[in-house]
Subunit: 129 residues, 2 copies
């Protein structure tokens, strides 16, 4: 059976594709951050939801993320997910890479539910900026 | 002033260089994991300490890590550190890269102290294996 985080990330990818950002926000912690692009960070569900709406607009409302090879490093109630993330969209001139090695940090709460605390699809490429 | 995590990581690097692994273990959570090498994970302080002793031996007791450019993504009590990590050692034929883009996950406890939960100096390169 796949790791439950793999299933959660799949549900997030579907929610992004369907632009169902209320469902998507259920998978983030209240204090979560999203790296929108290098140098720009959204903090908290309100800002993250707005950022996803802007990202959807940027990609002509056609963006769909999928995950390739994925490694889940789990340590108690904390997990680091390393994932090959592929973005497809109708927009052919994106200034951002559509093929990324992402880093996602998840936290498990006292009910055993995982939520994303740090969503950085740019991975270690940020330190090249 | 530097972020306190930068100071903590500096203290860890000094402890590794001095092979002071008891001091080093103070900076890890009880459930921490260390990616020793691709495919090999040490779990908990006991295994992590043993792994650091083996790593020191592998590098002829001469290994010294230093950090270059570092990005700290902080979300409440969780932080993802992306860091250019440089290893130097007398050993000239290491089969592992000495110049890495590392990913470290830290947790802040109720006393406000940060501890490393996930120590993965290989960063997203693991998904290439």
């Amino acid at each position: 059976m796949d790791h439950e985080l793999k299933e959660i990330i799949k549900k997030c990818d579907i929610a992004i594709k369907q632009e169902d950002f209320d469902t998507l926000m259920n998978y983030y912690t209240d204090e979560a951050i999203l790296v929108v692009k290098p140098g720009m960070i959204a903090r908290g569900k309100g800002e993250i939801k707005k950022a996803f709406i802007a990202i959807a607009n940027y990609f002509n409302n056609s963006v769909a993320p999928t995950q390739g090879e994925m490694i889940i490093l789990e340590a108690g109630d904390t997990a680091l997910v390393l994932s090959k993330t592929l973005l497809t969209s109708d927009k052919k001139d994106s200034e951002y890479s559509m093929d990324r090695k992402a880093t996602y940090v998840f936290k498990k709460n006292s009910q055993g539910q995982w939520h994303c605390a740090i969503d950085n699809s740019y991975g270690t490429e940020l330190i090249n900026q």
